[in-house]
Symmetry: D2
Subunit: 358 residues, 4 copies
Amino acid sequence: MADKMKAAIFIEPGRIVLGEKPMPQIGPNDALIRITTTTICGTDIHILKGEYPVEKGLTIGHEPVGVIEKLGRNVVGYTEGQRVIAGAICPSGHSNACLDGLHSQDGPGTAHGLKPMGGWRFGNTIDGAQAEYLLVPDAMANLAAVPDGLTDTQVLMCPDIMSTGFAGAEAANIRIGDTVAVFAQGPIGLCATAGARLRGATTIIAVDSVPERLAMAKRLGADAVVNFKEVDAVEAIMELTNGRGVDAAIEALGLQQTFASCLEVLKPGGTLSSLGVYSSDLTIPLAAFHAGLGDNKIVTSLCPGGKERMRRLMNVIAAERLDLGPLVTHHYGLDRIEEAYELFANQRDGVLKVAITT
Amino acid sequence: MADKMKAAIFIEPGRIVLGEKPMPQIGPNDALIRITTTTICGTDIHILKGEYPVEKGLTIGHEPVGVIEKLGRNVVGYTEGQRVIAGAICPSGHSNACLDGLHSQDGPGTAHGLKPMGGWRFGNTIDGAQAEYLLVPDAMANLAAVPDGLTDTQVLMCPDIMSTGFAGAEAANIRIGDTVAVFAQGPIGLCATAGARLRGATTIIAVDSVPERLAMAKRLGADAVVNFKEVDAVEAIMELTNGRGVDAAIEALGLQQTFASCLEVLKPGGTLSSLGVYSSDLTIPLAAFHAGLGDNKIVTSLCPGGKERMRRLMNVIAAERLDLGPLVTHHYGLDRIEEAYELFANQRDGVLKVAITT
Amino acid sequence: MADKMKAAIFIEPGRIVLGEKPMPQIGPNDALIRITTTTICGTDIHILKGEYPVEKGLTIGHEPVGVIEKLGRNVVGYTEGQRVIAGAICPSGHSNACLDGLHSQDGPGTAHGLKPMGGWRFGNTIDGAQAEYLLVPDAMANLAAVPDGLTDTQVLMCPDIMSTGFAGAEAANIRIGDTVAVFAQGPIGLCATAGARLRGATTIIAVDSVPERLAMAKRLGADAVVNFKEVDAVEAIMELTNGRGVDAAIEALGLQQTFASCLEVLKPGGTLSSLGVYSSDLTIPLAAFHAGLGDNKIVTSLCPGGKERMRRLMNVIAAERLDLGPLVTHHYGLDRIEEAYELFANQRDGVLKVAITT
Amino acid sequence: MADKMKAAIFIEPGRIVLGEKPMPQIGPNDALIRITTTTICGTDIHILKGEYPVEKGLTIGHEPVGVIEKLGRNVVGYTEGQRVIAGAICPSGHSNACLDGLHSQDGPGTAHGLKPMGGWRFGNTIDGAQAEYLLVPDAMANLAAVPDGLTDTQVLMCPDIMSTGFAGAEAANIRIGDTVAVFAQGPIGLCATAGARLRGATTIIAVDSVPERLAMAKRLGADAVVNFKEVDAVEAIMELTNGRGVDAAIEALGLQQTFASCLEVLKPGGTLSSLGVYSSDLTIPLAAFHAGLGDNKIVTSLCPGGKERMRRLMNVIAAERLDLGPLVTHHYGLDRIEEAYELFANQRDGVLKVAITT
């Protein structure tokens, strides 16, 4: 094993470059993974643009697919050479939040593990997955074996996009026969649409303005699509539901307008499930909120991680409930990751997700 | 039985007067109640001030304690002369919302029963309880017998204040050992404080600025009180929780500031349970909302009604878990209800709740 | 309208015959339905055999599809001539159980509405659906309009089989990625299999001994099938789950052996969801119950009814999530219902369900 | 630190003796605790009698209160000399079960962590707490600091009895106003009674035959007590509930008769929450089970552990919601633990719990 490895490093706002880093030193509870495939997330673009702050010199990326290169002394239940993934969120397993079942809100450095997003470590507080090798902390809580027969591309969405999108549907408390609207059909919104279908919603309305995304939404489970550039989305949804409104609305973009639209189409007693990462204060419109008397819920979800979540999501793929392969529209080698960033940051060429292989 | 009865009638904004009305005509599913005690709610003051619109000529009031005068032809299971209460919210039992378990969001005039607050009829869409007699629709769903040994005053809070306040604690999903902050200690906030205690919270922090209300909060279950005129409430709560924040925060006032403070003291994964009736758009502060990544919930509750809810709440009183008698600070006869409105609207003389007897 | 109508009448154990009955008298909250299609349930066979007692002279049947002939004076929101269904369970909407959200356990004749199966009235405590006309009590709580474009056959399973089978999956608290075993693939078991799929289970194992039923199970959602005449079902399931056991096991037969097998394949923390109607005491095997230390749940469900449930189930059909048409293997006119009973009681000719049309 | 320590060792069925053991060797994730107080559990008596098998030579005991003597190299967030407790159940935090929120059903030696009771390690699969020192595995998941001002005796029930008893109330899904029966008022049943009160039950009926236990039940929260030696418990409860039955029944003994009685007093839709450790197959009576049609639930709970649970339980004590001190009826030094076993095994002298101090 070499001393050095290639990695996509955050230099300063505007610059993520492919550079060299020393090979990670492995501790007793860690595992070292040789990355075979990873991807770039919208959050990485926020980092690139300086909108989400991380330390200079950090390796970016939180969606690892790879092979176990080396296991820490305490790590049992795995073998070197095994194909694995780890979730974008890496719970320690031993924080108060984890012991309380709130694994995403783990926080390694705090007494009570309650720092928001504390569980998000890769490419945020520790070196990430856009590299030749990745150190996975608390490996026994986080490494999930890839079932035989599944390709890297098939499981590439599990660590983040699929887990997050599904969480939006799960938190919406969907029941069989529900009507659900999903605002925005980027990769996460598409997974929320697919998740709503898997939970038993029977009228799923997908909203976006890009025809290809709306077409993909139909392919992944939407019953109806609304192009907000062509019609007023709220009006269209109220019409589709005969004025009844939706049981659940999923926000998958992170903007005031989609957040407000979710509330406007929600029936009394309905749930707004929010997945967006917002960048400014939000306004709740009084009427759509029924002045606080509508028995409504607003719930937010951070991507669930940990090996059990990954096991379940890979089961969904293995059982052929869902094929997220079509979300991967572009492939690059790690050597060309800067090009991939350029493409993805500018959303050129109809890109949905980019696979980075090493 | 006379042809006419006395009733507190909404004339126009600024004027609720004691007048005369014809005795109600009873339908097959109705019951006629002779009111023995009722009260004035903060919502009635909104009506008085013209802030919440109702039709001119409507009898106000939604908190009935009384005696069955007459039963509709289809109504079985009750006897004339029986002491009963009915909830402020009168579900029909047969709307789609009711069949879905969402009884408060019933709506008698709509196909799907989903008009917000549809279940609130007394003193809103039909004549109310501040009168000598009250017609209770869907009587079999709404009349609850008062257990022997309980006085009118003891059960007077059940129809609205206690049901609403408890709902705030119930919707907060409190677990044994939780820390809960309750913002505002008016009658509803005090009941939320008591409800949090009944659900097993072990650190209950009550916030208000009126020393008598904070003292009452301690009496009804608060472990600590914070006077927001003396200290910064958010800072005080963070200090009381060692920086951990609260598992649940209950908003019981209906203002932007208390709503925002709830979010600011909430731990990741925590729940804001909102009871306030707001009068303008609300702002969600980005940082307190963790940009949407905190696994937080915001839930709103309308007062649960129906005879089963009333039965349970009267059980709480009968079992001596809680004595809400001290909330009734003033008594008036129906004849002097205009004076009572004047006192209550101006919150004079340390008033919490006023009992109106006939 | 004639004075008399044809109806399948329980005469005595062993005899259900087509006879004549007076047309029902309609009360203010009732509706009279002209039955267009109905079916025979396994429960009707229990009645036929005298295993479940009903009064002599009762019209049998609890799965009505029809047209509104006449509405009671108080019934609004419907029109005569409208196509409707009603659930097998007819909640009143106004019992304590209903107000508590427990609509199936309604009981019209008891103070608190808690008699088990109290909500099951058609063909049990009042005249049923195997007739030319059916009186639906509490019509506003129970009549659900059939969406345009759906045939009688398509919605015929909604009142009972589909509602019950789905309830088994819903009560099992299935999550995305779960492994579920369904014991017995009669009509209810098949609907449980389909329901498990709709809730997001990704490994669904269907157990039966009839090859046609196992084939139908695969068509409706099973990932794997186990023929218990060919292999030991428990062993086969443990092998299919790599010794892990299932997250949920659904009992859809009503026998000791299937009940015990459910426990034997259940993982610690897993749920046994029971749909069977048992006819003798049950034994819980100590080891499979982990001596009471396995954090397991055993839940039973009675068919959910009411118009909102029916609306949701018809949505499932309309959205093409599921086609239960193939469950209807035989058709008879009401005139030949005695033949239909003979066929169904003896489970001849591969019968799954029989449509009875008038 | 000495090389050897005293410990209560299982020699063979019938013999637990105070002997000597080498001091434990501490691994990187472990902590060594100097025990200051511990106790004997009913389960230990099962071990003593050979009814529950453990390896010969094992140190018994699973209820540690002590002081941190030494921390493993990886353990942060604690200091040597700190007063701590650990739960009877020691989840690893990193099994699939733990990552799924099912911490009690952890299993250190299995791939999926699903062996029932896998989380119970002290005095079961590893050396226990009835010794001078205790090695706590996965210390960061399990050590909980004792709040200042709480004595050993005050927190001695937290590791097992209080956690288990409360779990019975929590799993019963109690709501405000519920009626709950608790069968058997030994230490766990008493804690279930207290737990039912903390969750908001308003009619709590405690069943036992020992007057002192019934008196203690009243002190800890029961509204009514039933002495099953004096009256038929089922009849008495049906009378106390006016024939309605209870919303939840908690089994805290582990016998067929109490299990069946729970079902017999349960209303349709009610929950049997089972805490007992059974020693033979159980029978479910058909009628009490409503033939499977009563929408009933049977749930079992294993003592929840982990540091967050312990933190919450100690909060309950610190907040003075409950004083379990009176459950400790006897005190012995570790040197005299054999006497303590003799007393406790024979339930002499009105013993409830014995404190063992070192």
